[in-house]
């Protein structure tokens, strides 16, 4: 996000001021604060078969991980997980296409740009449950049934699109328009300019938007809960589990989610790194 060439850390080479040590200490404590409870649930997810959701550990086992993959009476984790992944994939693709287009469109002032901007801000800050409530009411009025790829998809887009749009502003702001002018001067049509010049240059940012939208969708709860219909996504299924009975299965889900997150982050960074390296290697003149 902030991998700039210039260094803001003034005074390199001189000794560190005392504020550095104070803030470094604070940062360390903050990380402890972020990860402390997470470490507890990673640990408790290996709870023995007779153990509960709190300490002490009664032996160690993997039964709670096994629990995730078998459909239980309370919740069907594998099926809801598949639904969540499918929904998050669609949400992330739609968000990328629409917010990239909007990010490019917002580079010029156009009539109504202010209204659209504030509409997006409003959609972002609207209490989440109310978005779902409104859409749910609308479906009821129209006599439609709520379902995964209609109402739930729509409710999530009201959340991921403004985020995608703001992220694209940051990406587009750093884009040097002289590349586009060069392409036009060389006779490229608008399409050619977009497909062979603009999009490839913006690609690392676009991948970031896609990953962000995927995550937001995968974790979304409050906007989706009133418009999901009869078959839950994973966060809703987890919520149902919490309300009925608490078992270390929840913690096992948390452990797996974190492991998968680290994998996705790793793959994304690797992809962005590859693109940048290939670019550096093939365009020495720039």
């Amino acid at each position: 996000m902030m991998v700039g060439g210039r260094s803001h850390a003034a005074g390199a080479g001189r000794g560190r001021p005392w504020t550095f040590y104070a803030l470094a200490g604070l940062f360390g404590l903050f990380l402890l604060f972020l990860y402390g409870p997470m470490l507890v649930i990673y640990l408790l997810s290996f709870q023995g078969p007779n153990g509960g959701v709190t300490f002490p550990m009664v032996g160690t086992s993997l039964v709670w991980f096994a629990d995730i993959v078998k459909p239980g009476q309370m919740a069907n984790i594998p099926a809801s997980f598949q639904r969540s992944i499918a929904l998050a994939t669609v949400v992330s693709l739609v968000t990328v296409v629409i917010s990239v287009a909007a990010g490019l469109g917002f580079r010029r002032r156009f009539a109504g740009s202010g209204v659209l901007f504030y509409l997006a801000v409003a959609s972002l800050v609207m209490p989440s449950l109310l978005v779902g409530f409104g859409i749910g009411l609308g479906f009821r009025v129209l006599g439609l049934d709520a379902s995964l790829f209609t109402s739930a998809l729509g409710a999530q887009l009201t959340w991921t699109l403004p985020f995608g749009m703001f992220a694209m502003f940051a990406v587009v702001n750093r884009f040097d328009r002289s590349y586009e002018e060069a392409a036009s001067d060389l006779g490229a049509s608008a399409w050619q300019r977009l497909i062979y010049v603009t999009l490839p240059i913006l690609m690392p940012g676009i991948i970031g938007v896609g990953m962000g939208a995927f995550t937001l969708s995968y974790d979304e709860y409050a906007r989706t809960t009133l418009v999901i219909g009869t078959r839950n996504t994973l966060p809703l299924e987890i919520y149902a589990l919490i309300s009925s009975a608490t078992s270390p299965t929840l913690f096992a889900i948390g452990t797996v989610t974190t492991a998968v997150s680290f994998m996705i982050i790793g793959v994304t960074l690797w992809a962005i790194y590859r693109i940048q390296r290939r670019r550096a290697a093939s365009a020495p003149s720039l």
Binding site: V40, T54, L130, W191, T215, I253
Partner: protein, 307 residues
């Protein structure tokens, strides 16, 4: 993927006939580019909002809702002491959490941008802050239960260290637990925008302030804070609206001592009492909109974001 002028020329020659070349005015192109976004926001956000504003004036009974124009839903809502109580409680959570996340988020952003010298280390540290964000908020919330509980990890640690002989009871299912959870969930929303603003500050400005004899504190107050105010405003809006819109954390962590505005509202929705739920939604939205408008007055967010 290459972007050298030479390769662009080659592509252009090869593809000249393949792709259509339409001619629109630049403004029409912008409109076309933003139209899918506009369509979705209007259909899925603006219209449903208008709908519950309309429904808030409707009449209802056990069997259904009836078109009408009555103010009873608002009158009932605004004259119930419980409404005032829940707004005061949510607002005090909002202000407390905002103050804590602002101080914490500003310090962390400041550390990452101005104190960490290597860009690679900065990226790694930033990712370390971001990773827990990838885990479901529900799981991150309940993760505090085994940590703060009577036999929880924190009590074990302080008792082992001999700081206290009795387990501390106020830690879990209390306002304290709610605030801790909020801060844990939302601080990153403050760090991100502030760090983004700070990374745009020209280091020469800070150097100039120092050369002109400004103390570290003066540089902070006169240079860094004014130039970070976009990030501060954005982060504040995000954190504040998240707290006001929450209905899971308070329910789960306060142990029934406090309610949130939205959890009261969701009870009405579950009872299919749509008109009073709508009225309460309208009041909440108005409240949040006023707060956000006040924060946006501090800084022209649009001018800062769209150049």
């Amino acid at each position: 993927m290459t972007i050298s002028a030479e390769s662009i020329t080659i592509w252009v020659r090869q593809r000249r006939c393949v792709l259509p070349s339409w001619h629109f005015s630049p403004r029409a192109v912008s409109w076309l580019q933003v139209s899918p976004l506009a369509l979705i926001l209007v259909v899925l956000f603006a219209l449903p909002t208008v709908l519950f504003v309309v429904v808030s004036f409707f009449d209802y009974d056990r069997t259904g809702i009836y078109p009408a124009f009555i103010l009873d839903n608002y009158r009932e809502l605004l004259t119930t002491p419980a409404t005032i109580r829940v707004y005061v409680s949510s607002l005090s959570f909002g202000v407390t959490v905002w103050a804590i996340t602002l101080l914490l988020g500003f310090s962390i952003a400041h550390f990452l941008i101005f104190h960490v010298r290597s860009a690679a280390v900065r990226t790694v540290l930033f990712l370390l802050c971001a990773v827990p964000f990838w885990t479901s908020g529900i799981i991150r919330t309940i993760a505090w239960i085994p940590f703060l509980g009577r036999n929880g990890a924190f009590n074990q640690i302080v008792m082992h260290a001999g700081i206290t002989s009795q387990p501390l009871d106020f830690l879990l299912f209390s306002n304290f637990a709610v605030i801790v959870t909020y801060v844990n969930l939302f601080t990153l929303l403050m760090v991100g925008p502030i760090a983004n603003s700070m990374s745009k500050i020209d280091p020469a400005l800070i150097e100039a302030a120092r050369d002109a004899g400004a103390s570290r504190w003066q540089t902070m107050v006169e240079v860094i804070i004014p130039l970070s105010k976009t990030g501060i405003a954005l982060g504040s809006i995000l954190v504040f609206t998240q707290v006001m819109g929450d209905f899971f954390v308070v329910k789960q962590m306060s142990g029934g001592q406090s309610a949130s505005i939205v959890s009261a509202l969701s009870n009405e929705i579950q009872a299919m009492e749509y008109p009073p739920a709508s009225a309460s939604a309208v009041v909440l939205v108005t409240f949040v909109a006023i707060m956000v408008a006040c924060m946006m007055r501090v800084v022209d967010v649009r001018k800062e974001l769209v150049k």
